[in-house]
């Protein structure tokens, strides 16, 4: 199965491990990423005011390009997913705003591309049962906290891939690959997101809450689907480690990394070296890695 794929800027730079591990693991499931030709940044924020159409021009260009390559477009980054999906909904459902955007862009995009998150591809197209069958190296005995953040779930009507309050898609995937999911209370709270740029203290506080909620619930590993969440959690964890003697931190990884590992891919090809906290002690502790 070949699926049109939009990596987005972060996966091309700081979150390269996310991109690499996704390509490696999907290949093992018989999925080939057909990277969008000539793609640009999605804009990374969906505008708060409904008449700020200029902010929709960047994602509209991505969508219009994707139309040439197929009916669907798959993303890995939660933020790209959220922005593209919501922009598409505006273009598809609102004749007036579609007219203005297309007029400005000199385009005639109609909203015909469906935006998918790779988790949806795994859940709805591949199926977690099939994933489970493909597992060669089950990650047994590791307690993993699935961290959703905001962008995969909210606003629910526009971008939710699962129940906004009680999601299970990540936990279901983690169970399929042998991990033991820990449903920690703050798994759908915000990490602080873009405030990392100008109000770092807020990010440190919010991400710190998420981390302690996960660790106190017994998580030995945190799994995420968002490069910004991953960045903020690692940043906050660095502070916690420096302030709290005895706390060494837990690995914060992308779901595609653990997926690749379970599917039997070589750990060296899954971009783990780009994460600040090494996963190998956890794996070694459970006898998964020699």
């Amino acid at each position: 199965m070949k699926i049109p794929y939009y990596p987005g800027c972060t996966l091309n730079t700081v979150a390269k491990g996310f991109d690499e591990s996704a390509r490696e693991s999907s290949a093992l499931l018989g999925i080939e990423f057909d990277e969008l030709k000539n793609w640009n940044c999605c804009g990374a924020t969906f505008p708060l005011s409904p008449d700020n159409l200029i902010a929709l021009s960047a994602p509209a260009k991505v969508l219009s390009n994707a139309r040439k390559q197929g009916d669907t477009l798959t993303t890995l980054c939660s933020v790209c997913y959220n922005v593209l999906k919501r922009t598409n909904k505006v273009i598809k459902g609102d004749k007036v705003r579609r007219g203005v955007i297309n007029g400005f862009m000199g385009d005639d995009y109609d909203g015909g591309v469906s935006i998918l998150h790779f988790l949806e591809v795994l859940r709805d197209m591949v199926g977690f049962d099939a994933v489970k069958k493909a597992v060669k190296n089950p990650l047994k005995g590791i307690k993993a906290g699935a961290y959703y953040g905001c962008m995969l779930l909210r606003p629910f009507e526009d971008a939710g891939i699962d129940d906004a309050e009680e999601p299970r898609v990540l936990e279901d995937l983690l169970s399929a690959i042998g991990l033991e999911p820990v449903r920690f209370p703050l798994r759908i709270e915000c990490c602080g997101a873009h405030l990392a740029v100008n109000k770092e203290d807020i990010v440190l506080r919010l991400s710190g809450n998420v981390l302690s909620s996960a660790v106190n619930s017994g998580a030995e590993l945190i799994v995420t689907s968002c490069p910004l969440c991953q960045y903020n959690l690692e940043k906050s964890q660095a502070r916690l480690v420096s302030e709290m003697p005895g706390y060494a931190g837990v690995p914060i990884v992308y779901f595609t990394q653990v997926l690749g590992l379970a599917l039997g891919q070589d750990i060296a090809r899954l971009g783990f070296d780009r994460n600040k906290w090494d996963i190998s002690p956890v794996l070694k502790g459970k006898g998964i890695l020699a």
């Binding site: 129940d163 309050e165 009680e166 209370p185 703050l186 709270e189 106190n216």
Partner: protein
């Protein structure tokens, strides 16, 4: 030749502003058969009516037309006046030249309005010429009422009807009457114990000789019409012979198995043979068949062994009872929206998050904790409780758009009960607005806040989760514009009140209307609040919409007085505007039968002199027919006509246009 009089009303300026009434009258005077015309300022006034009566006598009129407002307003007035003057009331017709003419035309030269009024009146004249004198239909009345639902509204209605001297059948789905009110601890705003004020009424209903109770029963079907309903009631198998049972309770005591108690909202267990609560009326147990090993696997049977009067019957089946009644009162009440829908509050996942109704059981002296407030997880008295209001109410996205009306009050009551029982406990309430309209209600809420020290926080809760044996509540306090986090021992959700499951099915069985939330529709929300559009069926209590106890009782009494009014006469009178079948031409295709929305048409056998049926024809039940005319349009052989609106009359009117 008929002798017609035409009376054109000016209705002050309502009609006269855009219609030249004098001209209309003059034009009509030119028509053959019109022997008298006049126009007048207010035809409906006493002098106006006298004018009509006088003219009928003076000019020997045999039919009259009043061109005035809608027949909904004054048809009755003028027909009465005509009757008083000695002509058949159905020889009086109204032309609507106000709502359908003067009010919608703004031509101040009066040209348009006058022309249209002339046309309309002329059409009525042609119709009136062909009017046949009709007489009102009289229907006998069965002097008995059915009340569906044995909650406080239904009990009150049944008692009032019985006190009024009529017999009542009270049908209740559960093994005991009492409804939701039987679950409540104390009641706002007077804090009297719910059971203490309810049980005397329950007993009264049981002992009243004019009331027949059918508990553990449901209405299976309803046929007939106002004054003459035939109701089939399913008496579900109790596995206990009601007539023999003495209510000694031996069987309950000795039963070795238990199951979740739905009366206690899952907070405790009860035996498999049980009465829902100690004061149940009737005090006759029921076997919970799915959980009974004797019924399922033919093992045990202890209850039958210990039963003195030998009234246990494991082979019992559902029975059906048919009752004939003249009026029906629907009082089926409410239930709570499933809390599981709100994942953010953790109901069903966190044991110490409970519903308001569960809190009622905890606070009730007959409840699972004997009235002590103890949390479900470890039985400890909670040091702090968070009450969350509007769970599902006023929430169009995930719940319902309406306000559930009673939650503000019972939450205030809960904080008081909690603070009285756990003296050092802290009560927090998250609310959207405090809605305490009602006699002594606002004072009650102020007492909860000022005297009993409940901490009210205006804002919503975003998340509830467990941490170290505590329930953490995260929310917003919008008045101080801050985020708050409360570590509580227990959380109580004030869940939205919704219509009962199956409310729509019952409504369809009865032929009454319901809204998108499946609450039953009143005939008129303000002026006919306990009637339905189906004559003879009345409403009471929370099946109409969220209602508190005073409202439900008032509605129960109101519905009872409506039913008593209906049952007080020996015969009902109704307008003779009904369909009539020409038996000579009916070819029994039964198209009318399928077309009739009121099931008013029956198959009727025509008999010869020997009494054998020779031919089938359609027959209209005049008691049920609403005169809508659908069958007239459906009839292929033109064998049905509508009294007062025959084809001949309608075509004559059209031709006159």
């Amino acid at each position: 030749m008929p002798r017609i009089g035409v009376f054109v009303c000016q209705c002050g300026n309502n009609i006269a502003a855009t219609v030249d009434t004098k001209k209309v009258a003059e034009e009509m005077a030119q028509l053959p058969a019109v022997v008298h015309v006049t126009d007048y300022k207010f035809m409906c006034s006493s002098p106006g009516q006298d004018m009509l009566k006088k003219a009928i006598k003076e000019h020997r009129l045999d039919s009259v037309i009043v061109s005035a407002c809608s027949p909904h307003m004054h048809e009755k007035t003028f027909r009465k006046a005509s009757e008083a003057a000695g002509i058949n009331p159905f020889k009086c017709e109204i032309t609507n030249i106000r709502e359908q003419c003067s009010w919608v035309h703004h031509d101040r030269t009066k040209k348009t309005g006058t022309r249209k009024s002339i046309d309309l009146t002329r059409m009525t004249i042609e119709r009136l010429k062909r009017n046949k004198p009709l007489s009102t239909i009289k229907i006998p009345v069965k002097k008995k009422a059915l009340v569906i639902g044995g909650g406080i509204a239904g009990i009150q209605a049944a008692l009032d009807i019985a006190d009024g001297g009529r017999e009542v059948i009270l049908v209740e789905k559960e093994p005991s009457i009492g409804g939701n009110m039987a679950r409540l601890s104390e009641t706002f705003p007077t804090m009297d114990c719910s059971q203490c004020i309810l049980t005397p009424k329950m007993v009264e209903a049981e002992l009243n000789e004019r009331i027949t109770l059918h508990t553990y029963s449901e209405v299976e079907s309803v046929d007939g019409y106002i004054g003459n309903f035939t109701v089939k009631i399913r008496k579900k198998a109790r596995y206990v012979i009601e007539e023999l049972c003495t209510g000694c309770g031996e069987c309950i005591e000795k039963c070795p198995f238990s199951a979740q108690s739905s009366f206690e909202m899952g907070l405790s267990k009860r035996k498999v043979i049980y009465t829902p609560f100690p004061q149940s009326v009737p005090n006759i147990p029921v076997i919970d068949a799915p959980n009974c090993t004797k019924i399922q696997k033919d093992k045990c049977g202890v209850c039958a062994i210990v039963c003195g009067p030998k009234c246990i019957d494991f082979k019992q089946e559902d029975r059906f009872v048919t009752e004939e009644v003249g009026a029906i009162i629907v009082a089926t009440g409410y239930e709570l929206m499933p809390n599981e829908r709100f994942g953010e509050y953790g109901y069903g996942r966190i044991r110490d998050v409970i519903s308001g109704m569960q809190f009622e059981r905890l606070a009730s002296s007959s409840g699972p904790t004997g009235g002590e407030i103890r949390r479900p997880s470890d039985g400890k008295a909670p040091e702090s409780v968070v009450f969350i209001q509007c769970v599902g109410s006023r929430d169009e996205k995930k719940g319902v758009a309406y306000c559930s009306k009673v939650c503000c009050m019972y939450t205030a009551k809960h904080t008081m009960l909690y603070r009285h029982k756990v003296k050092h406990g802290k009560a927090y309430v998250f609310y959207m607005d405090i809605r305490s309209g009602g006699k002594r209600y606002e004072e009650f809420v102020r007492r909860a806040i000022e005297h009993d020290g409940a901490m009210y926080l205006r804002g919503r809760v975003s998340r509830v989760y467990e941490r170290n044996g505590k329930v953490v509540v995260q929310g917003a306090d919008t008045l101080s514009a801050s985020q708050v986090e409360i570590e509580a021992d227990m959380v109580v959700l004030a869940t939205a009140i919704v219509a009962r499951q199956g409310a729509d099915t019952l409504a369809q069985r009865l032929g009454i209307g319901y809204d998108k939330y499946k609450f039953y529709n009143e005939y008129h929300p303000k002026l006919r609040p306990v009637e339905t559009v189906t004559a003879g069926i009345f409403l009471a209590g929370a099946c109409i919409g969220p209602a508190d106890i005073p409202d439900s009782v008032a509605q129960g009494s109101a519905a009872a007085s409506k039913a008593l009014g209906l049952l007080s006469a020996d015969e009902l009178q109704r307008e003779p505007v009904v369909a009539k079948v020409n038996e000579a031409t009916c070819n029994a295709c039964w198209d009318c039968l399928t077309a009739c929305p009121y099931s008013a048409i029956e198959r009727h056998g025509l008999k010869n002199r020997k009494g054998t049926v020779v031919r089938m024809v359609a027959m209209v039940n005049e008691g049920v027919c609403q005169g809508c005319g659908v069958c007239v349009a459906a009839c292929r052989s033109k064998s049905i006509d509508l009294n007062g609106y025959t084809d001949e009359q309608v075509f004559a009117a059209i031709n006159a246009f």
